[in-house]
Amino acid sequence: MFRPTSALVFAVVVALLAGLASSATPADPIRIAYIDPLSGPFAATGENGLNQFKYATEALNKGGGVLGRQLEIVPLDNKVSPQESLIQLKKVIGDGIPFVFQGNSSGVAHAISDAVQKHNERDAGNRVLYLNYSAVDPALTNEKCHFWHFRFDAHADMKMAALTDVIAANKSVKKMYIIGQDYSFGKAVAEGAVSMLGKKRPDIQIVGNELHPIGKVKDFSPYVQKIVASGADAVITGNWGADMIALAKAANDGGLKVPFYTYYAASDGVTAAIGAAGIDRIRLVHESHPGNPNPPKALSDYLTGYRKLHPQNDVNQPRIHTGLNMLAQAIKRAGTTDVDKVAAALEGAEFTNLSGDQLVMRREDHQLQMPVYISVHTNKNIKHDLDASGFGLALEQKIEREKATQPTTCKMQRPS
């Protein structure tokens, strides 16, 4: 039926492809689901996170894997939607994958955490463990805590405590403006800022406390005008992603030259977009050494190795390395992938991370106890820059673990 020419082309093609083919046969790996945005507006963050997971997994697998088995990351796209996340979680459960990592958006985290708890209570034979590497709403390890949730990032209040310590020491700050996204994390930041500043520096006046819809504001200039008009001499914001870029740009255009204290104003395009406008003005609170200046060797090698694989991206979440390695350690100790036993092994587990810090997974609420770092956006003495932009973060201050710790209201219920 073919014309001779197309038949010939076809035959050649088949031969070519057959020649290229080779097969890889992974032998019964331990599967770990990764539920985060891999398409849509927040895909950049999710994809970079996935690459960091793969990078950390490869290192573990090269060392022989866990219990003689390889680890395999199963990426599932949730488009940062709570609803899509639950659809994916049902697939995870249906496929019998025991471990789930997720981090982007506390809204999603609440949905997954709640669904995991309900599922595990109903179906004891097919439980899943939720490992939260980035969603920092304090409620997740306080009133909403449960046995099958572990958090590997410092929560918003731990970070806010560190941030407010720095602000309290800065006597030139007299009027503070708080702006954030209108959802659980943004609200947690605002509440933490108001209550902690009230205790540490009652003389600082909160001249604005604003919540804007998440991902919907096109132009931040009106907000910036409001900040200018309020006479604020410093700003706290939990904004991330496009909302952070737009806010920084508008601030620059509007002539707002005050310091910004932020949670997520770096990497995934934010650093490059802020550029020179943010030098010595934007400060960031995070859970790891920023890599400048004088990074610990383990961290420096890790960052360099990742940059080789992904020239445009950064290891912006070293906690991914921490979470994955602590999970591997717990599986080893438990000698099984049984969810309850692994969870029990994680409780109270200790780990030394890439920054050389000694971390402990607190039994009472499953919140990892860790030091907190404050860094500043700059282009001076940058060894490990972000977004390949020449700009990066330089360490200003480290708040030790004992000082960063926060009390919890969690009453952990353990399965009998």
Binding site: G40, P41, A43, A44, E47, D182, G208, E210, L211, H212, P213, G215, K216, V217, K218, D219, S221, P222, Y223, Q225, K226, V228, A229, G231, A242, I245, A246, K249, A250, D253, G254, G255, D268, G269, V270, A272, A273, G275, Q312, N313, D387, S389
Partner: protein, 316 residues
Amino acid sequence: MFQLIFFSILNGLVYGMLLFMLSSGLTLIFGMMGVLNFAHASFYMLGAYVAFTVGLHLGFWPALVIAPVVVGLLGALVERQGLRRVHRFGHIAELIFTFGVAILVEEIVQLVWGRPAKSYQVPAALDFPLFRVMSSSFPAYKAFMLVVAVAIFAFIFVILTRTRAGLIIQASLTHPQMVAMLGHNVPRVFMIVFGIGSALAALAGVIAGPVLGTFPGMAQVLGSIVFVVVVIGGLGSLSGAFVASLLIGIVQTFAVAMDVSVGGALAAMGVHVNTAGALHDLWRVTIAQVAPILPYVLLVLTLILRPTGLFGTRET
């Protein structure tokens, strides 16, 4: 207070003019072809990205010209090869087609330029504060945006009302059959209008990219607001789109500046509500928080009270 009001007006004007650049093309396409073009904002995004790439090699000023031309030709191509074929299957098919194009453009942009935001910066020649009032400054680039938008408005207005081509376009808006019978090639007029509309959207993208950010979600953020402008202004009405753009730009900017709660605003007008009732969430919320939904309130009210829009003469 003066400072806040003054800059709110300026920012409202800039934002409104940006909306106008997007909606001027859309209102012509919509009014003329009846197509709900969901891909319009995608051409805006393409404009920003193409300008970013051209700007890397040739600088901002050539990009300002090249990007709209490239995207305009692309728009004409989409109309000629896609939309025209779909036309005979009706408006819903056309709509789904533009829907598909919007998805495609967003994905292709991510394929070509990657997912993280691009560092598309204001050109150095315009990167200085134009003037300062007390502690705020107004960037020269925003003044440039205003000038471009006004120039476009004047340009289209003159073309539409003073030239022969404009008269044909205007006639095609209302009486396509008649124009065809007079021997004009109406499908070609459609293609040209679609191309020019896309080019205008791209121009908006070129000049808005450095201010509002250049990232794969930038089309979606503006997606439905341009429809609001077009409908409020009246389908096919350029002056309507102009007024509606400014109206929405200024209303939204001022709403952000107001920290009064809805209940408080009503109380100031002499209306006292029971703030503890079932709707207490509504009274507690500030005007600033409801700012993003105000355009849609305006849209629904306009359509109920005046289905033709502010300046329109017909409903569909």
